[in-house]
Subunit: 474 residues, 2 copies
C-alpha cells in the first residue's frame, strides 16, 4: 500500500494554486472521490484546482519530485472509474474545471483552441456563436469536460459522420509526468513532421500526461436536418437499411441508432412525455438522422423516398418522419432516455461492446443466447450506435426477480460476452474506455504484444508511475 | 561508421527468404539504393524480399540479434529519401513488394485488409470490385505501396473530404524491432481499449516497426461527380469561395486545388494535350470537385449555382464546369501535370508546407516576397491542396538563369521559408514527411519537448536503433 504524501509536499502543492483553489477535507471531497456510477469510493488527501497550464506544470514537477500519484479529474462522467482515486489515500486529485477558457476560434480554418476544463456543451456553444459545429454529442455533454472527452476518446451519437474525439483533434498541449509542457497546439489539417505523439494521449485516461488544451476541428452548422423513426423486424433488416442509406446519403447520414422494442416500451413507461410515434409495433426501432450544411439539400424528401422504397422492399415495417423540430426532439428524447428508463426499471448489467458493422446481427444473436442461458432473471436491452458497430448490450433485471441473484450472474455473463466479442473480432470497450473497471479484463484479453508495447510506452512517458496509477494498465 | 554485416548474418537472412527472394549484387540493386528524386545514392549488402509476415518476423529477429540496420522499402516514391539506405553499406533493405495480398474485403463493414506491398492502385481496384472506394488518391498511386502510404501518412487530392492515410486506418499488423508480431488488424469504428498504438507507426517512416498489413476504411463509390475550373484574382478570393462551397456542399466538397497562372501556362506549354478551358486569363486557378454516393445529388446544378452566385459577387472571374467525363479528366490532367511541367521547365526548389487554411493568403504573400528577395533567378510556382492549407511552394528556375546560382540559393530560401511557416503556426512538412532530407531542419525547429518525447518513444520501441536509422530523428 503506498504511503500518504508528506505534509511538505501537500503544502507545496497548496502554495502553487493558492487559497480557495484546493480542498483537503469536508463533504465537498466526496464529489472527487466517488465516480459517476458509484462503483468506487476512493480517498484523497488533496484536491487541487489550478487555473493555468503553468500551475499544472508546477504541480506535476512537485509530484514527480516527491513521487506522488496524481488522478486527473474532469466532469466525472466516466463509466469506468477512470477519474477516481483509489482507497489508499495516497493519490491527489487534479481537477481541471478552472482551466476552462476558449482560447481561440478561427471560423475560416474551422478550428478552435479550448482548455481541458471547458464542458463539452460550452465548447459546442462557442463554436455555434461563429456558425460552426463542434460535432461531438453525448448524453452528459453539460457536465463532461473536453479534457475527459479527449482522455477517454469519447464517442456518442454522431460518430458515424464525424468520428470519435480522436478524429476531431488537430493538436494538444500536454503537461508531462515530469512537469514539462509539450506545446502541440497546431491547427493544421496536414502535418507530417515526426511521430503522431498527440494520439497517444487521446484515450490514455490521464496515464501518460495531463492534457491542458486542445485544438479542435469544427464543421459547418447543419442548415437542413431530417429525422425519422423506423421499425424493422430484425437487425439484419436494419443492416440492409443502413447500406441503402449510406449509398443514398453518404456522409449526410449522421445518426443510425438501434433500439429493441423493450427499450422503447421501458422509456415510454418510465419517462414523462415520451411517446412511440409509430402505429405498428416492431421488434426493433431505428432513429435515423440526416444533416447537411446546405439549406437546399432536400433531406426530408431524400429520407422519405428512401424509407418509402425500403417499405416497398419490405426492409422496414413502418416509419415516421419528423415534420417539426418538436417531433424531431421527441424522437431524440425516446433514444436518449433509454439509460434513465433502464435505471428506473431496476438493476442492470452493462456491456459497451463493438464489432464490425456487418457482424451486428451475429452479435445480437449470440449475445441474446448467452443472456437466456446465463441470466434467467434478465431481460435484454441491447441498443446503441449501430452505424458504428457499437452496442450497449445491457441486461435489465426482470420485475420481481431477486436483485442479488441477478447481479451475481454479471461476472460470468461478462466473461462469456467478451469471449463472444473477441471471437467476432470486436472490442470489449467501444467508447467507455478501460479505467479501473475493465483493467483486469483488458490485461487478460488484449493482444499480448500490443499490451507489452503499451507497457513500454507507459514506462517511457511516466517512469515513476505517478500518472493515474491502476487505470488502463494494471 | 557502422561496420558491414557479418557473412553469417547475411547467410541467415538469405536462408529465411530462400533463393530468388534476395539480391546482393548487380544493377538491380540500384533500384533499392537510389531514391525517387535521385537525391541519395546509398549502398547495401543485401535486399530481402519476404513473402509472409512470418518471414519478416524472422528477418527482424536475426537483425535484432546481430544489431543489423534495416531499411523498409515500398514503392520508392518518397520525396524525402525515407526508403533509401545510407552510403555506409551497413544497412540491409527490406522490400515489401511480395507481401501484396488483399486478405479480406467486407463491403457491409466498409473495410478491407491489405498487405503492405500492395500498390495503392491495386488497393483502390480491389475496393472497386465491391462498389467501394478506397479514397486515398495521389500522383504515384500506380507505384506507391500501401505500406509506404502508411509509413509516410500520405495525403493527396482528396484529403479535404476523406483525410490523410492515418484517418483511413482501422488497425495494423506490425513486426516490431525484435521480431515480435503485433496483431492489431481489427476493423472497428470504435475501440477504446488502451493506447492508440497504431497511430504511432503511421507516419513513422519505418523507424518504430515494420507495417506488414492494414485494415483500411472504405467509402461508397461516388455516383455523382461535378468538376469545375474557376479563375480568381487572389488567394483571398479563393478562400472566400472555399467558405461558400463548404457551407453549400459540406463533405461533398472533395477537392479544392489552387494553381497560379504560371503553373497553368507551363503545363499547357510542356504537356501534350493539355489546354486551359477558361476564356479569360486569371491570376489564380481552382480545380474544384464535388462527389456524392447518390446518383440523385444534383451536384452539377449545385456547383453551377454556387459558381454563378460567386461570379455575381465578383468572387470569381470565370469558370468552366465539365459536362463530360473527358472534360473532367482534362481538368484533372491540367492539375496533375504541374510537377512534370515544372521538371521540363528546369530546376526547382521545393517546399511542401502547410498553414491553417485561413492563413493561406498570408503565406503566399510572405513566401512570394521571400522568393523575390532571395532568389532573383526564380519564378514562383506555388500550387496545391488549398482546402487542406497545404501548398507546394515551389520555385522554378527562370529560363536562361544559371542553374548553379539558382540552386545555391536553396538553403537560404528554405530556412527563410521555414521561419515564415513557423511564425504562421504552420508545418515544414505537410505531406511528404521528414525522411533523411528534412531530419536536420526538423530537429532544429520542432518543439523541444515534443522532440524529446519522440526520442523517448524511439528508444522504447527500437532500443538497438536498427529500424531505418537516420530517418525522421537524427
Amino acid at each position: 500500500m503506498p504511503r500518504p504524501p508528506e505534509p511538505r509536499t501537500l503544502a507545496d502543492l497548496k502554495a502553487v494554486v493558492g487559497d480557495g483553489a484546493w480542498l483537503d477535507s469536508g463533504d465537498d471531497l466526496t464529489a472527487f472521490t466517488t465516480d459517476f456510477r458509484r462503483l468506487y469510493h476512493g480517498a484523497t488527501p488533496l484536491v487541487v484546482l489550478p487555473r493555468s497550464v503553468d500551475e499544472v506544470a508546477q504541480i506535476m514537477r512537485i509530484c514527480s519530485r516527491d513521487e506522488l500519484a496524481v488522478v486527473p479529474h474532469g466532469g466525472n462522467t466516466s463509466y469506468c472509474g477512470a477519474a477516481t482515486p483509489d482507497e489508499s489515500g495516497s493519490q491527489i486529485v487534479l481537477s481541471m474545471r478552472r482551466l476552462n477558457r476558449i482560447r481561440h476560434l478561427d471560423a475560416d480554418n474551422y478550428s478552435m483552441i479550448v482548455e481541458a476544463g471547458c464542458t463539452l456543451a460550452e465548447a459546442q456553444a462557442a463554436a455555434r456563436t461563429q456558425a460552426r459545429l463542434f460535432p461531438l454529442s453525448l448524453g452528459s455533454e453539460g457536465t463532461a469536460q473536453i479534457g475527459g472527452n479527449l482522455s477517454t476518446n469519447a464517442g456518442g451519437t454522431a460518430v458515424l459522420r464525424y468520428g470519435m474525439m480522436r478524429d476531431l483533434v488537430f493538436g494538444l498541449e500536454v503537461v508531462l509526468a515530469d512537469g514539462r509542457v509539450m506545446s502541440g497546439l497546431n491547427s493544421l489539417r496536414k502535418d507530417n513532421t515526426g511521430y503522431d505523439v498527440k494520439s497517444l494521449f487521446i484515450g490514455a485516461e490521464g496515464t501518460l500526461g495531463v492534457i491542458t488544451a486542445a485544438s479542435l476541428k469544427l464543421y459547418p452548422q447543419p442548415a437542413d436536418t431530417a429525422t425519422a423513426l423506423a421499425g424493422v423486424d430484425s437487425p439484419q433488416r436494419a443492416l440492409e437499411l443502413l447500406a441503402h442509406l449510406r449509398g443514398a446519403a453518404g456522409e449526410q447520414l449522421t445518426t443510425f441508432e438501434l433500439m429493441p422494442r423493450i427499450a422503447v416500451e421501458l422509456t415510454v413507461r418510465h419517462i414523462r412525455a415520451v411517446a412511440n410515434p409509430l402505429d405498428q409495433g416492431a421488434a426493433w426501432y431505428l432513429l435515423i438522422e440526416l444533416t447537411s450544411p446546405s439549406p437546399r439539400a432536400g433531406l426530408a424528401t431524400l429520407l422519405a423516398d428512401e424509407l418509402q422504397e425500403a417499405a416497398v422492399r419490405a426492409t422496414i415495417k413502418d416509419a415516421s418522419i419528423a415534420t417539426s423540430l418538436a417531433q424531431s426532439q421527441a424522437m431524440w428524447k425516446l433514444r436518449e432516455s433509454v439509460p434513465e428508463a433502464q435505471r428506473h426499471h431496476g438493476a442492470s448489467l452493462k456491456h459497451d461492446i463493438s464489432v464490425p458493422v456487418s457482424i451486428i446481427p451475429k452479435l445480437i444473436e449470440g449475445g441474446s443466447e448467452l443472456v437466456r442461458r446465463l441470466v434467467p432473471e434478465g431481460e435484454i436491452v441491447a441498443y446503441g450506435h449501430m452505424g458504428d458497430g457499437n452496442l450497449h448490450f445491457n441486461v435489465s433485471q426482470k420485475p420481481g426477480a431477486p436483485a442479488a441473484a441477478f447481479l451475481e450472474r454479471g461476472a460470468k455473463l461478462e466473461a462469456a460476452m467478451f469471449d463472444l466479442v473477441g471471437g467476432l473480432g470486436g472490442s470489449i470497450s467501444a467508447e467507455h474506455g478501460i479505467g479501473r473497471l475493465k483493467a483486469a479484463q483488458f490485461a487478460e484479453r488484449a493482444d499480448p504484444v500490443e499490451l507489452s508495447v503499451m507497457r513500454v510506452l507507459k514506462r517511457a512517458l511516466d517512469p515513476k508511475g505517478i500518472l493515474n496509477p491502476g487505470k488502463v494498465l494494471m
